[in-house]
């Protein structure tokens, strides 16, 4: 069978994972991501179901396992997941093509994952229980619980959170569950 060539590399170097894994040494990360069949998916809505994830990611091959990232206090989804495929070719196609396209009408970010300790790493590491980015972000995102934790604390202190925003959030939540 003809092996296809990836000529974009003539223009820029190929990379494996772009995330800096803090818990593992760089050589280990290199080795693990180069034989990994697991990908990380970020910027999900809290309400995206596993079936939606399965549907999109099945377009790149058969999905073996989906592990939804959870808030470490409430044990509810906090907007990321790991998708494991049976073969690396499927995972590689996924990182190549599905990255920066939409799932559940949000642009998702897909990156290689080391593929080990998923059960340990599936919890958000932010102070509010979710992902760290949700602690600090300042925009209003109804799919990710409205305001980020820090901003929310600021607003609630001033009592400025409007009724409209609360209602919008309740509405969004109701529609998706």
């Amino acid at each position: 069978k003809n092996k296809t060539r990836h000529m974009a590399y003539l223009y820029r170097e190929k990379s494996t994972a772009t995330y800096k894994f803090k818990d593992y040494k760089p050589e280990e990360v290199q080795r693990l991501t180069e034989c990994s069949t697991t990908v990380y998916v970020g910027n999900l809505s809290f309400y995206t179901t596993e079936e939606q994830i399965w549907e999109l990611f099945s377009k790149c091959g058969e999905v073996k396992k989906i592990t939804i990232g959870l808030n470490h206090t409430t044990r509810t989804p906090c907007g990321f997941c790991f998708v494991e495929y049976y073969t690396r070719a499927c995972a590689s196609d996924c990182v190549k093509w599905l990255n920066n396209t939409k799932l559940d009408e949000r642009i998702v970010r897909i990156d290689w994952d080391v593929g080990i300790d998923i059960e340990k790493r599936k919890f958000g590491r932010g102070k509010s229980g979710g992902q760290v980015r949700d602690d600090y972000r300042t925009d209003y995102d109804p799919g990710r619980g409205g305001y980020g934790a820090q901003k929310l604390a600021e607003l609630n202190k001033d009592g400025k959170r409007t009724r409209e925003e609360e209602e919008e959030e309740e509405e969004h939540k109701k529609q998706r569950t």
Partner: protein, 798 residues
């Protein structure tokens, strides 16, 4: 080109400047994140002169606004000075660029010509390299290398590096196959020659018009008597006369021959500017023309005689796909010949191949094609070409999702015109949807739903509010169903206007048959079993309970009902989400092994899944995939159920066929995984010093692989046997059909179409059972044997 821009996983900028985690990578200058694992603040290391030159070589000719001729002259000057030290490396880089950047072969040809004028040794060295690479490419049957080497040689003739005699000799060699060679091979080599003629013909006509005429005659003979079955086998739109690409290209070239081979505007010719300079060197003779084509020393790949022994799979050239007419203002004013269209199509297909890693790059190159025309004037060709690859039969080169996302990217980049052209194409396809091949119908629905999901599901649904027939309304239903799978029911309800409300699929839900139905057999047992599963008792505990005295009730049920109860309860326990199903199935795997192992029990398990998930086909498909993956159900069991009498009426539903496809695909992927596992192990023959353990592992994998191969062979034989029986039975019955019976035209359209789809999709696997299949389909209904002959032609010819 800023390298920092296209990092994987980079987020759109958000206002906070705080934590920079995975999703919020800033990547602001001057930090270049590519050099992670060290101190990020170091500037990238200085480039060596060779690396700088490589960058220039790769990028030359990309920017259409910049003066190509001046750049070429400058680069040739710079390179010639470096030849003394780095000859080998420069040749490597030049050839790598020439063979992998499809639209720039003329540029590299001219560059080599210019360098040849400055250094004859360089010319000899590079031509020797080309010769040896060509020999290797032919040996390994590397399709793209062969094609681009031939094209590079044509450009070298234009640049006066190689003489026309050599090129003619090469063409003769490539076309030297006799009539016994399979059509796929003859087609491939004919196309290699024809894909180089647009570049070469003008010059060849000046040098030796007689030989060119002879060449055209040879091509005429080659392409005239092609097997029409092949064209029908891969036709997307089942018109009366699908146009095969190979013949169409020949006819386009013949048109050019009639008007004396004028130079084409769609191919760049930088060598014209340098003609005086290039003419100063004397062209090399790479191949000697002789009556015996084999004398040039290039070996064509070994001919594999019979389909069973054949290892190579030649590419199938897709038929011409034409759905857009010249109505739009954009392209009614242009005047391009068929050859121009072919050149543009070829460029686009090659770009999609070489730039498959980065859709953005691919579309950027497509939008900047060096065809001396604005891309908007040829957008219809672009859209039709991408559709050709999306619908590519029997297989597409890359996963079909890639082509879909190319459309999305195209709509973003050319947002003024491309969405309009694409909509026209979609509407045109919708109108002809009843002539679409069934497999392409399904590809179309899958693609369209995914496309819409990237664009907020915006579509002019109301223009489709009165579907002409069942196939049209089915199409809308299937698209909406897949949109629902990618989102959720309320979202689709919101998008679709009320006129199409009856096309919206129902909300998925569970059907736990024991809920509130004490009259069903096994109700009490189901309650007990489900209770145990809810409290997460292990499989061993449940088995122990069943076999003990307490399990009297369950023991009194027949094995089939036991299987029903167990499978239904397991499904209910795992109904909440995909992960729940995975967890529950793994936890109770032993139960399956013990109680769902006989044929009847497996059949019951299948029926239980279908009953449980009758309102949610997606979940049924997921359950089937999982059970197949864990060897709870065998592919053969599913095939047997599929073609059983009770299942025949449901053939009109697309999702039933999805299950069959997934089953066969799963059997194939298991085989492939075993093959790659075996390939990764060292064999005892290769390494006599292998340890005992490794030898055992190798032999074990070999055995597993052999068993899997046998099983798959049997699976395909059974599959086609059942197809024949069911279809033949249907045609016999349709003579005396009652009102309301399921055997209508739609059923026939779907079933025959799927039969063709399976035969075509797995035609390579059918090579080993061709004899059996021939026997099977000898005395059958002509409609069935017609379809069989079509995909059979793929089996023997490619």
């Amino acid at each position: 080109m800023d390298r920092r821009d296209n990092r994987r996983g980079s987020a759109p900028r958000q206002d906070d400047r705080g934590y920079r985690g995975r999703d919020n990578r800033g990547g602001q200058p001057p930090y270049n994140r590519r050099y992670s694992g060290g101190n990020d603040r170091q500037p990238p290391p200085e480039k060596t002169p060779l690396e700088k030159v490589k960058d220039l070589l790769v990028r030359i000719g990309d920017n259409l606004a910049s003066p190509l001729e001046r750049n070429l002259a400058g680069l040739a000057e710079a390179l010639s000075k470096m030849l003394a030290q780095d000859l080998g490396q420069i040749i490597d880089i030049l050839l790598e660029c020439a063979l992998n950047l499809p639209t720039k072969t003329p540029v590299y040809g001219t560059l080599i010509g210019l360098m040849y004028t400055k250094s004859p040794d360089f010319g000899k060295a590079i031509s020797h390299r080309i010769y040896s690479i060509f020999a290797i490419a032919l040996k390994r049957v590397n399709f793209y290398d062969i094609k681009f080497l031939t094209r590079l040689l044509s450009e070298l003739v234009n640049a006066n590096v190689v003489d026309a005699k050599s090129l003619f000799a090469l063409f003769d060699r490539l076309l030297s196959d006799d009539a016994s060679a399979p059509q796929g091979r003859r087609d491939f080599f004919a196309m290699v020659v024809m894909q180089s003629l647009p570049s070469a013909a003008h010059r060849l006509n000046q040098e030796d018009p007689e030989k060119l005429k002879q060449l055209m005659e040879t091509l005429d003979n080659r392409t005239a008597n092609r097997d029409p079955l092949i064209t029908s086998a891969i036709s997307v739109l089942e018109h009366t006369n699908p146009v095969s690409l190979v013949r169409w290209v020949y006819e386009a070239l013949a048109e050019q021959a009639q008007v004396g081979w004028p130079p084409l505007s769609t191919i760049r010719s930088p060598w014209v500017h340098f003609k005086e300079q290039l003419d100063t060197s004397s062209p090399l003779t790479l191949f000697n023309f002789s009556p015996n084509p084999e004398d040039i020393g290039l070996e064509l790949p070994d001919k594999d005689p019979s389909p069973e022994e054949r290892v190579i799979v030649y590419p199938t050239f897709q038929n011409l796909f034409h759905v857009l007419d010249k109505e739009s203002q954009l392209w009614s004013s242009r005047s391009i010949s068929n050859v121009d269209r072919f050149v543009i199509q070829d460029y686009i297909i090659d770009l999609m191949h070489f730039f498959n890693e980065e859709e953005k790059d691919c579309i950027k190159h497509i939008v900047n094609l060096p065809i001396q025309m604005n891309i908007e004037t040829v957008l219809d060709i672009v859209v039709e070409t991408i559709f050709t690859q999306l619908f590519s039969l029997p297989q597409s080169e890359f996963r079909r999702v890639y082509y879909g996302l190319l459309f999305a990217e195209l709509c973003k980049v050319s947002n003024e015109f491309a969405p309009g052209v694409l909509s026209k194409a979609i509407n045109s396809l919708y109108e002809q949807i009843q002539t679409l091949d069934v497999e392409c119908f399904i590809i179309f629905t899958e693609w369209f739903a995914h496309h819409l999901s990237n664009f907020d599901y915006k579509w002019l649904w109301s223009s489709w509010s009165n579907p002409a027939d069942k196939i049209h309304s089915d199409f809308i239903y299937e698209v909406l169903y897949r949109c629902m799978r990618l989102s959720y029911h309320e979202r689709i309800e919101k998008t679709v206007p009320p006129e199409l409300a009856n096309c919206i699929p129902t909300k998925p839900k569970v059907n736990f048959k024991y809920l509130g139905r004490p009259d069903i057999e096994g109700y009490k047992v189901a309650q007990q079993v489900f209770g145990k599963m809810n409290t997460k008792e292990t499989a061993t505990q449940i088995i122990a309970w069943i076999e003990s005295d307490d399990g009297e009730q369950i023991q009194s049920l027949s094995p089939v009902v036991q299987a029903d109860v167990l499978v239904t309860c397991i499904l209910q326990a795992g109904a909440k989400s995909y992960s729940h199903l995975v967890a529950v199935t793994e936890r109770y795997h032993e139960l399956f092994v013990k109680y769902v192992s006989t044929e009847e029990c497996q059949r019951q398990a299948i029926l239980s899944i279908l009953s449980f998930w009758q309102h949610s086909p997606q979940q049924a498909l997921i359950a089937f995939s999982k059970f197949l993956a864990l060897d709870i159900l065998t592919p053969l069991a599913i095939v047997e159920w599929f073609f059983s009498d009770s299942n025949l009426p449901s053939y009109k539903k697309h999702w039933i066929w999805e299950i069959l496809h997934a089953t066969v695909q799963k059997a194939m992927s298991k085989l492939e995984m075993l093959e790659s596992e075996l390939a990764s192990l060292e064999s005892p023959e290769a390494n006599p010093q292998l340890s005992g353990e490794d030898i055992i592992r190798y032999k074990h994998t070999e055995e597993l692989l052999a068993t899997a191969r046998q099983n798959n062979k049997k699976l395909f034989i059974v599959l086609f046997q059942r197809f024949e029986t069911v279809l033949k039975g249907a045609f016999e019955k349709s003579g005396n059909q009652k009102e309301g019976d399921y055997l209508d035209d739609y059923w026939v359209w779907m079933s025959l179409g799927q039969f063709k789809c399976f035969g075509r999709k797995y035609n390579v696997q059918l090579r080993s059972i061709l004899g059996t299949l021939d026997l099977l389909f000898t005395n059958t209904d002509p409609r069935i044997s017609d379809v069989y002959q079509q995909f059979r032609s793929l089996v023997v010819n490619f």
